[in-house]
Symmetry: C2
Subunit: 417 residues, 2 copies
């Protein structure tokens, strides 16, 4: 077990800067290398390091291939544009460094295979930093699922439902990769915030797997309408043709017969939700409405033909995952209500201990592949497309890794001290 | 305009008896003929008529083909099993009687065409009694859509989400047709409660139409699990193989680019919802959570990055459809919060006036076809299947009929006196 580890950050936009700053608050993490194609971002990142951790001597890079070569690095965190995640992570693994990638979707199935190949050829782990796997609600639900509270799982819903019209339409001036993605592509561009937690509940790649999906895109009106509203009808942004459908719905089938409904929903007015819904034979949970039902536990009003909902947020303290309880006792840190801290620590603990990461390369490949497969299905008029088995059959015998200190289900193996 | 009309009821199970009893409360409706294959149901229906309206001389039938022949009948209401709706309605039209069908789905596309053919060859209208088109919330939303409150519509959700495990598993002893449907079929068996109101909002068959769908079914576990719980593992009900997936999700694409997500969800523990969700460029409504958003109208808390939901039920009085306001002043009658009364009156008013029905044969054909098309898609592994244009091109030039007193959008033509 290493006392300290040395980390490089590639991609220093808003998210990269934020994640790096959070790492700098951890005494055992030294960010010694930062990289971006934009020089001003590199300078700003170096300034932040000097301010927060004057004892660290950090170096800036314009080319990630130079950064990953540094022999003193233990790990590389990739916080670049979506389309660069896999190739930078692959380069890191092939240079012998633990790779962590921010969330995003793949541009091709081959891109996912490259990650798998790099891991299998080098033995170096690769983790997707899917922070929502460490969300308080998601962790509590995972614990309930592992305890069979909902009975056998049948169907789950999830979404990335976030009004990003302002960010997307103004993305070009902000050098944000979302702009080109929404302009040129059409599919579920950002599946993992909901799909990661769902995959954990369904044991995907651990006795279950995604087998196929079909995807349907609505027309595209929201971004144009917003641009006209905000910039005026004669502005160049009002003349852009956006390819991305406002609502993209994907249905995924699993080997064990469960279905998943995923929604990508960034281009219309709305209020944020991940639309998580868990349906089992004996219970259900629904984020929208903050409600849940466990057969036999819900109050049943006299004379009513059905029980009454229970409020999930009220019962959360008694449903909390042990990892969250431990985390609360330790004191909440970092963004997004603690998720960012937890997911970073899960990665760094694995790096320090030299163990597998709780979210591994097969998870990353399967989750990211949904984007390119969704695009394929949309392009072919919602034709069903198969999801590859990125484990090449290993999913049949794989179970959760009991050695990961921060494994999502570590608690079920009595690993907490 | 006829002062009184004479009506026959075919199918006298729970729903038939209920609808007939409601008709008997209307002074201008005379139920003079009742029909069922079960003799005890016919006797019971005749008893109800004698009690409620002793002045009516009603006759019982075992064969609907005899009932529809009666020359004194103005209309036939079909409240039989799903699989008999279309053939009885067709027989009624061909005998010159206005036909009304309870809700349900088709067993084949040909069945839908038969309805269309019978109408086009006879000129006799046929209405599906989709009561949810007259639900208070659905009417208010229709009015908001017609006023462009949500902006251009992009996507809608809907469901029949109703824990019917007890009714379905015990259906055989209760002579309920649901039993065989869930045992043998696999698809969205009951699409119209949500799809009818959605079709009205999207102007389906009136300048828009369903073009294709894809459907995915989860595994089937809920009914078996329930039967084991309730009857014991050795009971014959615990040994039934149910074909119907617990959750069947259908995605429908429309000619004007809108998408619809429909869910059939009767086999797991849950609390009732039609899961209605309306997504426009400038606003949204969501039944689950009782909330809505209209750009510029929602409160926006100081310092928050997004507005706050408004509660739909609280604002309903100011959003009510004029038809509902009129109805409330007249005094609410009938089941399901007034919907049953409104939908019956819509039909009977058309019969009395000799006009087209507000929900017409093309609506019935398109809505019912979703069931058989969903089965086809599920059978073929979620392959997309085309939805026929049951208007044979008339949808291009069809608009709402301004002559129907109870037309769903009558208010927009100043038809209320």
């Amino acid at each position: 077990m290493k006392d300290k580890i040395r980390v490089g950050y590639v991609g220093l936009g808003g998210r990269g800067k934020g994640q790096m700053s959070l790492s700098l608050e951890m005494d055992d993490i030294e960010v010694v290398a930062v990289c971006d194609v934009y020089d001003d971002r590199v300078r700003e990142a170096l300034d932040i390091i000097r301010q927060k951790r004057p004892e660290i001597e950090a170096q800036g890079y314009a080319d990630y291939r130079e950064l990953v070569k540094r022999p003193d690095l233990d790990a590389v965190v990739v916080t670049s544009s979506w389309q660069m995640h896999a190739r930078i992570a692959e380069a890191a693994m092939r240079a012998g460094k633990y790779a962590a990638m921010e969330v995003g979707g793949a541009s091709s199935v081959e891109e996912c295979w490259r990650l798998v190949r790099a891991y299998e050829e080098t033995g170096v782990p690769c983790m997707m930093l899917e922070n929502c796997c460490y969300g308080r609600e998601e962790l509590a639900l995972l614990d309930m699922v592992k305890k069979n509270t909902f009975g056998e799982l049948i169907h789950l819903d999830g979404a990335y439902a976030h009004d990003l019209r302002d960010e997307i339409t103004g993305g070009l001036i902000r050098r944000h990769y979302r702009f080109r993605n929404f302009q040129r592509r059409n599919g579920d561009l950002y599946p993992t915030h909901a799909l990661g937690p769902i995959a954990n509940m369904l044991n995907i790649n651990r006795g279950n797997r995604f087998t196929m999906l079909t995807s349907m895109a609505s027309k595209s009106r929201g971004l144009h309408d917003f641009a006209v509203q905000k910039y005026g009808v004669d502005h160049e942004y009002a003349k852009i043709n956006w390819n991305e459908g406002d609502i993209v719905t994907t249905l995924i089938k699993c080997a064990n017969g469960e279905t998943i409904r995923l929604r990508h929903d960034d281009c219309l007015t709305r209020i944020y939700s991940r639309e998580l819904c868990v349906r089992g034979v004996r219970g259900m949970y629904q984020e929208d409405g903050d409600r849940y039902l466990i057969e036999g536990e819900n109050p049943w009003p006299e004379g009513s033909w059905e029980p009454k909902w229970m409020k999930f947020s009220e019962d959360l303290p008694k449903r909390d995952h042990p990892l969250w309880k431990w985390f609360q006792q330790a004191g909440v840190k970092g963004g997004h209500g603690g998720m960012d801290f937890l997911v970073q620590r899960a990665f760094f603990e694995a790096v320090k201990a030299g163990t597998q990461t709780p979210i591994d390369v097969y998870d990353a490949a399967a989750w990211m592949s949904i984007t390119t497969l969704s695009e394929q299905s949309v392009a072919m008029g919602s034709l069903p497309v198969p999801v590859p088995d990125f484990t090449n059959g290993l999913w049949l015998d794989r179970g959760p890794d009991p050695k990961s200190r921060y494994a999502l289900d570590a608690v079920h193996y009595d690993l907490f001290d």
